[in-house]
């Protein structure tokens, strides 16, 4: 391995000056821009969370006043949802990998891709400035009439920020759909595409069909505030429930924007580290599309106690349970892929296994919530908070980190330190569960969300949760340190350190600017790992030794 070297020319060293980054149209560089920005936003949202978890250590409001507390959870929710989780995997890993996985030189519209990053940054910075500088305390859901009549006027600036960033989502989704349809390499049929691409495709459907509805909802809020047009104002004959319908019509699908791309990452990691073909390829592929479609039919489950009609509640309850079916199909298929696989527990796999377990808990509690009678009891309690954090943090953030570790060698050409990777994955898992499991109990016992003063008897569980949050926060810092360290000192990875299948592994790491020296021709299906019995594996298989170039299966075998 001493002979290993980075390729001489690749996308990172093609050009060095600042403008070559800020005006780049290379999808890989844009992915890196997104990665840096998202890390920043994640940090901002995280600081807010640490602050309010500190406040919640005691039942009294002794660290911050209610006003500040409300601003903190608004900051946290808005930043984490709109400026971290929604773009996370599509904008970083999707941007970087989607063209490579289908054998294209770039996305279909590289300039729109760059524009999407600028829109995202403009929107994000504006929203943060509005919340921190002006103070917005509506929560990430900005329900009317609070947001239109009573909250302070910075709501407009925040809404504008989210509105602008929405167009970045739309452009990303549009780009992905068009690229998948028109840019596939010869031989790359729909059913040979990696499941990652299917997942991004399904997510993109939600991006393009859902985000415009958020845009018009935000525009209406702004008009309502500015001109008092009255559509959501009952005093003028408007209907505040209409706002909730429009908001959740986008925001429920948006939760699947967060989890579908994660599922897509898991579908890549599991076969690679189990050395097996994915079980039920078509089921996994179509379940992504099924989730995307069904996700548009369930929004009313956020409104069971809002006064919507009983029949609407029943229908939404039914569809919500239905959406659990394709989600479960995926879990079963990953599990079946693991069965009798040759499993190695490297960092990406640890994250993937963590995802499967935590997503299952999050998804099953979702089914509890979809049962109207239970929801009446736990609506707007910490039970809800625990439910969605199991999916969004236990699921989506874990999947994001898993994916970052899995493709880190491809993006940078170097390996991260495996031992540290495993340690931090375990710390994150423990910290996560300690933070959020007590919240299920708190919510079930009746502690409402979004208050900073609570009854004495809830203190023990709250202290547990805050303790967990500090472990979790610490866990997130470790990768930040060693990933940066590895940029200079990490071992040279070589083109395919995991012995994985897929076109992205056929090109040097880091890849050249146009990804492939020659357009690849695809002749086999995805995940064509050889049947296990034919391949005697060395003991230390994969864990430490990068597979040398010659040992790789040639694409055209």
């Amino acid at each position: 391995m001493s002979t290993a070297e980075l390729p001489k020319r690749h996308y990172l060293n093609a050009n060095y000056n600042v403008w070559s980054w800020l005006l780049t149209t290379d999808h890989k560089r844009i992915a890196i821009l997104y990665m840096i920005s998202l890390t920043f936003f994640f940090f901002v949202g995280g600081v807010a969370a640490i602050l309010f978890r500190l406040e919640l250590m005691t039942p009294q409001g002794d660290l911050v006043i209610s006003e500040t507390y409300n601003r903190l959870f608004t900051l946290h929710g808005v930043v984490m949802v709109f400026f971290f989780l929604i773009p996370s995997i599509p904008a970083v890993l999707g941007n970087f990998l989607l063209p490579m996985m289908i054998g294209a030189r770039d996305l279909a519209f590289p300039k729109l891709n760059l524009l999407s990053w600028y829109l995202f940054m403009a929107g994000g910075l504006l929203a943060i400035a509005a919340i921190i500088g002006g103070g917005v305390d509506t929560g990430w859901t900005f329900y009317t009439p609070y947001s239109t009549t009573y909250a302070n006027s910075q709501v407009m600036a925040m809404a504008l920020g989210i509105f602008v960033a929405g167009f970045s989502s739309i452009l990303t989704g549009l780009n992905f759909i068009v690229t998948t349809h028109t840019m596939r390499a010869p031989g790359m049929t729909w059913f040979r595409m990696p499941l990652f691409v299917w997942g991004q495709y399904a997510t993109s459907i939600i991006f393009v069909l859902g985000t415009p509805v958020l845009a018009i909802t935000l525009a209406l809020i702004a008009l309502e505030r500015g001109l008092g047009i009255g559509i959501f104002d009952p005093r003028l004959g408007g209907d505040p429930l209409l706002f909730q319908h429009l908001f959740w019509f986008y925001s429920h699908p948006a939760v699947y924007i967060m989890v579908l791309p994660t599922m897509a990452v898991i579908s890549e990691i599991v076969p690679c580290f189990a050395r097996k073909r994915i079980f039920g390829y078509r089921f996994v592929a179509f379940s992504s599309v099924a989730i995307a479609v069904l996700s548009f039919l369930v929004w009313g489950h956020h409104m069971f106690v809002s006064g919507q009609s009983l029949y609407a509640g029943l229908v939404f309850s039914f569809f919500s349970m239905l959406v659990a079916v394709p989600s479960a199909i995926k879990v079963f298929n990953w599990t079946a892929t693991l069965y009798k696989g040759s499993i190695s527990l490297d960092t990406p796999m640890l994250y993937a296994l963590g995802f499967i377990g935590l997503f299952t808990i999050g998804g099953l509690t979702g089914v509890f919530l979809a049962t109207t009678a239970i929801d009446v009891h736990v609506h707007d309690t910490y039970f809800i908070v625990a439910h969605f954090h199991y999916i969004m943090v236990g699921g989506a953030v874990m999947g994001y980190l898993g994916g970052i570790h899995f493709w880190w060698p491809k993006m940078t050409g170097r390996m991260y330190p495996e031992m540290w990777g495993r340690v931090s994955a375990v710390i994150i898992f423990i910290g996560f569960n300690l933070t959020f499991f007590p919240q299920f109990i708190l919510g079930y016992l009746g502690m409402p969300r979004r208050y900073h003063v609570y009854a004495e008897e809830f203190q023990v569980l709250n202290v547990m949760s805050s303790a967990g949050a500090s472990i979790l926060g610490f866990g997130y810092l470790i990768p930040l340190v060693y990933l940066l360290w590895s940029l200079k000192y990490g071992r040279i990875a070589g083109p395919n350190p995991w012995g994985a299948k897929g076109l992205e592994w056929m090109t040097p790491s880091p890849p050249p600017t146009f990804n492939f020296d020659e357009t690849p021709i695809v002749t086999e299906e995805a995940y064509a790992y050889p049947p296990l019995s034919d391949e005697p594996l060395p003991d230390d298989f994969l864990s430490d030794v990068p597979v040398a170039d010659e040992q790789r299966e040639p694409l055209r075998s």
Binding site: M183, V208, L209, V213
Partner: protein, 217 residues
Amino acid sequence: MSTANTHVAHHYDDAEQQFDAARLGMWIFLATEVMFFGGMFTGYTTCRFMYPAAFAEGSSHMQLLAGTLNTAVLLLSSLTMALAVRSVQVNRPAVAVRLLMVTLVLGFVFLGIKGYEYATKFAEHHVPGAAFSLGEAHNPAVNPQHVELFFAFYFLLTGFHALHMLIGVTIVAIVAVQTWRGQFSSAYFTPLEITGLYWHFVDIVWVFLFPLLYLIH
């Protein structure tokens, strides 16, 4: 390199792939537009359902003649747009330029009539806000506040539509100049084609707005 190939960006294999991508991209963009207007239509439908009489009253204050005229103007402009694309496809750019000019003029006529309608509404105090007054109601039983809601939707929907028209005439003007400079031929006319798609879309939105706002009493 042949003339067609000079338009192919580096990451495409050939002109056909690039054309397909651009056209699909436009269709998807139009899908997002459908959802954008869909949100407003949903709001309109909800409120109309709550206050049918007030909304009928609101409709009766529309200027039917102006609306009908505008419908005709837009439909005609869609025809000239389609013919312009067709002319370039059969390599008659000079005809195409003239047709695009007609499209442009029709677009401005539409906006002019719309502006006239808005001005009348201002004069009649039909703009929602502090100065709103219904004046003489055809149906005295309705709550003027609910009629105001109708007018809010009227300005919202037609306002966003007019904004799309403004963007539309700008783009049509640009492609008209490009056509006049001879940039398009049967080998390459992607910008013209997708401008056409956009124009027809804006037209279709109006085809929905017209009956919803002017015709249902």
